[in-house]
């Protein structure tokens, strides 16, 4: 379907802080025969919160350079972090919307002999899984179905919103992750705070941890065995965040937080070490014991 090769855009957090996510992506997508072409000229996307807050024109310039690299290499980009997805997609959108701005940014890129045209498609890996691979092939790759495992999905914000730019799924009634989780044999469960933000972008000592607390109260009430997500920033809010909640509020949750490709990797029969599940703060043994 998609003739262009796909280049993974790893960003910063995944390769440096959570390489287990990268390992799980490479392994599970390899099992599904999604060919990935690595490009080592990318930089930070850059981050859509702080870097953008300081200077949006610089933010656009760095994003446009990354996109121009993909154009030169003639590849489509596959992101694995919702932040990278947000930055690269929004930059494409803004530069398509505003010709004058695009030229302003291109004047910066001209300094390094590059030019941004807007011909590269950027998709989060869950879109590649849904649209190129398809749920059926994912299901066929499963050798160890996660039967009876209840997964509380955390969508995070930037995969879905704004739908004017992201157009991945309905922002209020998304189901892309439900379908992908079901393909592993697990059962996605709904809960009150399913679409709440992880809070990481808020500069406050109080608010983000309150949000994490409310999300865990909601998913534990719903009886989840684990949380499934697709963004390293959300992951840090919830894996480490759970421990912070325990410390601050004396409320102990032990709900493993699992990146989607790790979940898929378990179902495909990869080992704990291959998926780096031993690196999580909140141990995933409870889940593994039930499927292995």
């Amino acid at each position: 379907m998609n003739e262009r090769k796909i280049a993974p855009f790893w960003g910063c957090m995944i390769p440096a802080k959570y390489p287990q996510m990268e390992a799980s992506i490479r392994r599970s997508l390899g099992r599904l025969e999604v060919p990935l072409v690595d490009i080592d000229r990318f930089t930070c996307c850059p981050d859509p919160i702080y870097f953008k807050a300081r200077n949006k024109e610089q933010w656009l310039a760095v994003a446009a350079r990354n996109l121009a690299v993909a154009e030169e290499e003639d590849v489509d980009v596959m992101t694995a972090c919702s932040g990278c997805t947000s930055t690269l997609r929004e930059a494409s959108f803004l530069l398509a919307e505003d010709e004058e701005l695009k030229e302003r940014i291109n004047r910066r890129l001209a300094r390094i002999g590059m030019r941004y045209e807007g011909t590269t498609r950027v998709r989060h890996l869950v879109e590649v899984l849904r649209d190129d691979v398809g749920v059926d092939r994912i299901r066929e790759s499963v050798t160890r179905p996660l039967n009876d495992i209840k997964v509380a999905i955390h969508y995070g914000c930037h995969l879905l919103k704004p739908s004017q730019i992201m157009h991945v799924d309905d922002a209020d009634y998304p189901e892309i992750l439900e379908r992908l989780v079901e393909a592993t044999g697990a059962t996605p469960i709904n809960h009150r705070e399913r679409l709440l933000c992880c809070g990481k972008g808020c500069l406050s000592d109080e608010i983000p941890i309150q949000m994490t607390r409310d999300i865990f109260a909601s998913i534990s009430q719903a009886g989840a065995d684990c949380m499934g997500l697709i963004c390293p920033t959300c992951f840090s809010s919830f894996d480490l965040g759970q421990i912070m909640v325990a410390r601050k509020f004396d409320e102990k949750y032990e709900i493993p937080v699992i990146y989607y490709c790790q979940l898929l990797g378990i179902a495909q029969g990869f080992s704990i070490e291959e998926l780096g599940l031993d690196l999580h703060r909140v141990k995933v043994d409870s889940i593994l014991a039930r499927v292995c």
Partner: protein, 225 residues
């Protein structure tokens, strides 16, 4: 609320990327209901922030005590707004204006500076690569930070334009061929079947683009107004 509208401030906001959409706000409040920052803080309300932009209340919006930094960047307001105000982007434009003034929270500045100077927002240490190795992953590639330095520099007066319309292809301005390869690191050949245009490869960057980013230091000034 103040009695006079400060149009000068609004014009400055119009001139900041994403700021001009504040003009479309009709104060309907659709952005408030799903806003997590409003849910968790009584001080924060995207509609009120937009009202202040319409009135041009500069100090409240971009002064040291502004609530704009409580926004979680969740984009719900953008999703809900019927007027295409894109409230979050107006808030980001306000943050850019605050940064211009040097009123930027320290953590924001530090994080952004890390990206400007290293091209990466995470610390890349040996232990990171050891952990990667255990997972069967290659080391993290070197980041072409000198290219970033060049594109982050403030534009010069009369800077050579990018070649504008008609898809004209520009020659690189500098001439240090291959300078973006790291020491001892040769970029692997591009995958088979893809012709790489030879001339588009970066050169050393524009001679005049010597400094990263910013002229003035943008440290936090959190003194009271």
């Amino acid at each position: 609320m103040g009695s006079k509208i400060a149009f000068t401030f609004r014009e400055q906001l119009d001139g900041t990327i994403g700021g001009d959409h504040h003009n479309y706000c009709l104060q309907c409040g659709a952005c408030v209901a799903g806003c997590p920052a409003a849910r968790y803080s009584e001080d924060f309300n995207p509609r009120t922030i937009l009202l202040k932009t319409l009135l041009g209340q500069e100090e409240e919006l971009i002064g040291a005590d502004s609530v704009i930094w409580l926004c979680t960047n969740c984009y719900t307001c953008y999703e809900r707004c019927p007027q295409d105000v894109r409230p979050i982007e107006v808030i980001i434009a306000l943050k850019n204006m605050a940064a211009e003034r040097g009123v930027l929270p320290d953590e924001v500045n530090k994080f952004a500076e890390m990206i400007s100077s290293r091209g990466h927002s995470a610390v890349l240490s040996e232990s990171v690569n050891r952990r990667r190795e255990k997972l069967g992953l290659d080391p993290i590639p070197r980041v072409p930070v000198e290219e970033l330095t060049a594109i982050l520099a403030d534009p010069e007066e009369g800077e050579v334009p990018s070649g504008g319309g008609a898809g004209e292809v520009l020659e690189p301005l500098g001439s240090k061929a291959g300078s973006q390869e790291g020491p001892g690191k040769v970029r692997p050949e591009k995958r088979a079947g893809v012709e790489k245009k030879p001339s588009k490869k970066a050169s050393g960057g524009k001679a005049s683009a010597k400094k990263v980013g910013r002229k003035k230091p943008r440290t936090t000034k959190r003194s009271n107004r």
